[in-house]
Symmetry: C2
Subunit: 364 residues, 2 copies
């Protein structure tokens, strides 16, 4: 691969467009794209994400050092096979799909194919949202097999690092189990919970009651992007079903614990879950354990801004945030997660300075 | 009850303190408090939430027209019984506990007792967070029984309306099932999910992987306030267990649907869940159906503030918000929920004006 690789992008949305932008601006690559939607290619060229569009996927692959397949999961195998048929013996063909097992089983025989999955970008956003720095610091999973070309893997890995990403090799089954646990299963659970509440609350009730902040949080991803999620669930069905069944078993155990009604045992179970969550989130954060701040605010327009601005100006980053509006939206609570003791203390001081009530969970 | 009622508050934290502040400032009430923690009473007097502290719960109840019991759920029945023993024949004794069935079963024989539950305020916040307007517009459930004094109910209802709240009568069992569905069960599910992920991700893994935004959202309430939640779960054990078992059954069905792998059926199931969630949330919002905006931003300090400020200045209220930081916190996505088509369109315009990418879900 020369210093300026030739790259083909098949499917030009947020991910494909951002690969193009980053490859052109950061690596001086020549990027050719193809999409079933001609207007996406036109927009991508106008945005500088592609040098040009190609008539067909095969034409885009001609002379490419690297091919990225970015079709929806359901038609990805077909697209990868077409790319492999069209491109040269030294090319590397990869993809950006959310599940890997099915695809690698379908296409992994070819030494030029290495599956991939960047943890960045929303599935539905179009090319107009493409950004050069979308992959900056983002994990990019790669699923080479024992048939994959070593030279090809090296080229792909260096290219992705050049885009700003952090590539990491993982076997396809582990990848899919991991995604089932941290992403796909939570979507399934959110669905079950929304359905349960909808049925329970509409039975024999004239109007729907206000729902609580815990319901908002627990169901936030319910039903997002049905077509895409239908595909993801289907292509990772066994790992997601295993994980969902495991959660169902845990809930069965929780129901027994609840019926026994032992306050101390319930408190211990609850505390252990909080500890598990903190440990998992801290793997993400750099500046120390996450601390939770509870702020009570007037929920008029501008309050959240004022609050976030005060923290921002002081260089305190909000790692996670949840708003709990009161039913009439005139007042509410905000929970903020900030990394590190010092960050939390500084944040609390700033929030108090604005006249809001704040408590740091665990402090007294 | 005269125009200036005498009120006793037993247990002086956020809720008790806010009752005192609102009763004094809005209704000119005389408010006497008692707490097992003497310093809370001192702070409440200093903040103007109480006229004075009393030596004992019985002393606080002397001459009171209205008594509010705000002890933790586990000791609430004991506190209500003590208040009923101490106060006069015309007094009304109520409480602010999160569950009602157990308490009403224990104390409902006395015509002076009417259970209550305001949907406002966090359980752990101290009296220093008390606010006169904490209950402004907030639902305040009341659980009168056929033994309850009609005059007492009328007095309590008028008093709560005077605090700014919206009282609503509900039978204790319905209240507890409702709370199980919209609040207690989601906490239990979040716990199960956090425990599942912690076990799945630490088995045979050297380091914890990044968790997804769906995991963050779905587990946000996992493990919060173990002592308080141990009590709530225990005192509403059957309704929560029923609801948790129902969700477990739904997850079992979801696992079957997943294993069948029918993409269209999975997409339809997913879409129905999204529809359920929207319908439930819309019961809360006034200005029309909630619309979802997805924004891609640099996750530097200040970005969220800038965004929220722009919306706030234009009078567009953010009804709900979720941050999805990228693993390294340098970039991320923000999902905003805004009420009404016009609000969503205006918000999208403002966000675009700041140079961020934004899409309104459902628009193309």
């Amino acid at each position: 691969m020369s210093e300026a690789p030739q790259v083909a992008v098949l499917g030009v949305g947020l991910i494909g467009g951002s690969i193009g932008l980053a490859a052109k601006r950061r690596l001086g690559a020549e990027v050719v794209g193809h999409s079933r939607t001609a207007s996406s290619v036109e927009r991508a060229v106008a945005l500088g994400a592609l040098d040009r569009g190609a008539e067909s996927a095969a034409a885009a692959c001609e002379g490419a050092d690297l091919v990225f397949c970015a079709a929806p999961v359901a038609v990805l195998a077909e697209q990868v096979r077409a790319a492999l048929a069209a491109c040269g013996a030294d090319a590397v063909v990869s993809d950006v799909g959310s599940t890997k097992g099915e695809l690698v089983a379908a296409c992994g025989e070819d030494e030029r194919f290495i599956g991939g999955h960047p943890l960045a970008g929303a599935e539905t956003a179009g090319v107009e949202n493409a950004r050069e720095d979308l992959f900056e610091g983002a994990r990019w999973y790669l699923t080479p097999t024992d048939r994959s070309s070593g030279l090809g893997y090296d080229r792909l890995q260096r290219f992705l690092t050049g885009l700003g990403a952090r590539p990491q090799a993982i076997d396809p089954a582990s990848h899919d189990r991991l995604m089932a646990t941290v992403s796909h299963m939570p979507h399934a659970v959110a669905n079950a919970l929304a359905a349960e509440a909808a049925q329970a609350l509409t039975e024999g009730s004239e109007r729907l009651p206000e729902v609580g902040p815990s319901f908002r949080d627990a169901t936030r991803v319910a039903g997002s992007n049905p077509e895409i999620w239908g595909d993801i669930f289907a292509s990772n069905r066994d790992a997601v079903a295993d994980s969902v069944e495991s959660v169902a078993r845990r809930l069965g155990e929780a129901a027994e614990l609840l019926r026994a009604g032992d306050r101390e045992a319930l408190a211990a179970w609850h505390a252990a879950a909080g500890e598990s969550r903190r440990r998992l989130l801290e793997a993400d954060a750099g500046a120390g354990p996450l601390r939770e701040l509870r702020v009570i605010v007037a929920n008029r327009p501008g309050t959240i801004a004022e609050l976030a601005l005060a923290l921002g100006e002081a260089g305190v980053n909000i790692e996670d945030m949840a708003l709990y509006p009161a039913p009439d939206m005139t007042s509410g609570a905000v929970t903020l997660w900030v990394a590190g003791e010092a960050g939390a203390a500084r944040a609390a001081e700033l929030v108090r300075g604005l006249g809001h009530s704040v408590s740091v969970v665990g402090d007294e």
